[in-house]
């Protein structure tokens, strides 16, 4: 077997035999398909089990590999790729989440009056092909309904974004540490925001109680007593 074919076989087998096949494969596929930043050749890409490869642009065999890897990425991704939604697609999804289900005419007459009928129809069809909507015939038209709730879709999108973030770095601990920093910072901001909301609610309660002429039942949160009240 020739060297390029052995190399290709190695790439194909490695994802199936190594535990972290998705990240390895996605890196390979994404680099080849150009969806991630591509490093100028030649680069050495370490493949598990000690095999290495040198990528070379330009040869016909590499173009074949590129096409093959793109297809393998689609196959082995198992539909896990995040649905990239445009603004119009998001808007229509939001409208469907609010309504539950709708035909094109319902949306055009309702929340999307500024859009043309054909635009809404095409976009809904696109969402259906992305498997984000289900549809059933309603007379001569289709009635569309979301297949996922808002939370489920956001979870899928966020999960895929995190996976791509992890795969983008050769050192997986780097993205994780950045993520922890960001989350910690966001946690702190969230807690501060929640604290402000609680204080605002307390003021509102005190205000409503004083308007009713009652004494406030609880004092604002001040350190009062360390003794446990039994």
């Amino acid at each position: 077997m020739s060297q390029p074919r052995l190399r290709l076989l190695g790439y194909l087998l490695d994802p199936l035999t190594v535990g972290d096949f998705r990240s390895q494969f996605f890196i390979a596929g994404s680099k080849l398909s150009g969806s991630l930043a591509y490093q100028d050749p030649p680069i050495n890409m370490d493949i598990p089990n000690g095999r290495t490869a040198v990528w070379r642009r330009g040869s016909g065999w590499d173009r074949i590999q590129l096409r093959l890897f793109w297809h393998m990425q689609r196959v082995f991704h198992f539909g896990g790729s995040s649905p990239q939604l445009g603004p119009l697609e998001e808007r229509l999804l939001e409208a469907l989440w609010e309504r539950g289900n709708a035909t094109v005419r319902d949306l055009v007459n309702g929340a999307c009056q500024d859009l043309a009928y054909t635009t809404v129809m095409t976009t809904l069809d696109r969402l259906f092909k992305k498997k984000l909507l289900s549809r059933e015939t309603d007379g001569r038209a289709f009635r569309y309904a979301p297949r996922f709730t808002r939370e489920e879709l956001h979870r899928q999108v966020a999960g895929e974004a995190f996976r791509q973030l992890m795969d983008a770095s050769s050192v997986s601990s780097l993205p994780l540490s950045y993520l922890v920093d960001v989350l910690t910072e966001r946690d702190e901001q969230l807690l501060n925001h929640l604290h402000q909301v609680v204080e605002a609610k307390r003021r509102e309660l005190r205000g409503s109680e004083s308007r009713r002429g009652e004494a406030p039942s609880k004092k604002p949160s001040q350190k009062q007593d360390t003794k446990i009240k039994i």
């Binding site: 989350l183 966001r186 946690d187 702190e188 969230l190 807690l191 929640l194 604290h195 909301v197 609680v198 609610k201 307390r202 309660l205 039942s217 609880k218 004092k219 949160s221 001040q222 350190k223 009062q224 007593d225 360390t226 003794k227 446990i228 009240k229 039994i230």
Partner: protein
Amino acid sequence: MFAARGIAVSLSVFVIVYGIVSLAVSLCWRAGQRHSRPYPVRRIADLLFAMRMFPLVTAAVITAAFTVPSFLLLEPRAIDEPLGYVPLVLGIGGALLGILGIANAGIALRSASRQISRWTSAAQPAESCGAVPVIRISPVSAITLPAMTAAGILRPRVLLSGAAESLLTANELQTALNHEVAHVRRRDNLKRLLLRLVAFPGMKNLEGAWLEATEMAADDAAVSNACEALDLAEALIKLSRLTPLEPSAVLTAALIHSPASVMNARIERLIAWSDERLVSLPRFSPRYGLGAALATLALFAMTYSQLLAGVHTATEWLVR
């Protein structure tokens, strides 16, 4: 050989029923949760736990009430027929399931005991809160303490750290303690132990939903008006700032066990607290339950022999 055949057949039926019912529950529990949304959250928590335990209870009842009696009463003892490949495999599977479940629960119990012993190595008893003992836990070198947690299964108690006690006001501390006492009264730690016994693939989401519901149920039980709800919300916010956040020990109900982004939902729910959550659950008269139980027993008594014959025929098919 008769006894071995009986054990294998019984375990086989147990495994089959357990697997089928578990699969049904894992596919249908979300629908049950959706339909129970109008009800108080503690009912939802009870329903989720009941759904989680339903496969084990069903399989145990069917095995004990039908399979074993049908084998003992209807299987000829003199015939020495082979065990059969299917009952043998399923029987071994059932035995392994039981052993793994018991081992899982035992490991969790031992881990929890060790962790609690470490935490309470320098503990001082405080007075009880609602007849539940409260223990003040002091820092021990290199051991991260939980802010506040309900620990223990047979003799549950609330562990309170000095950091939490000094950080919270009296009202906030009281509502936080009430939350932990609610966990103790609902025996949530015992339920967690039971969940360890009945592992099945695909049930993690159901268990996660139950955990979430128990926390909200404990929040509801801890407060009786909007001010107390805000006190508890503020307690959660303050204790969430205590770092580092260590994963809580198994079989304990820590007040803070998730990062702030996950606690967000609980805190916002407390902020939006309304008197409607105080609605008491309708109490059904025990006469209805007794009546239903007697009717079921009467039905079974009338049809028991036919049921046993049917079960025996089914197990014969299994052996073949």
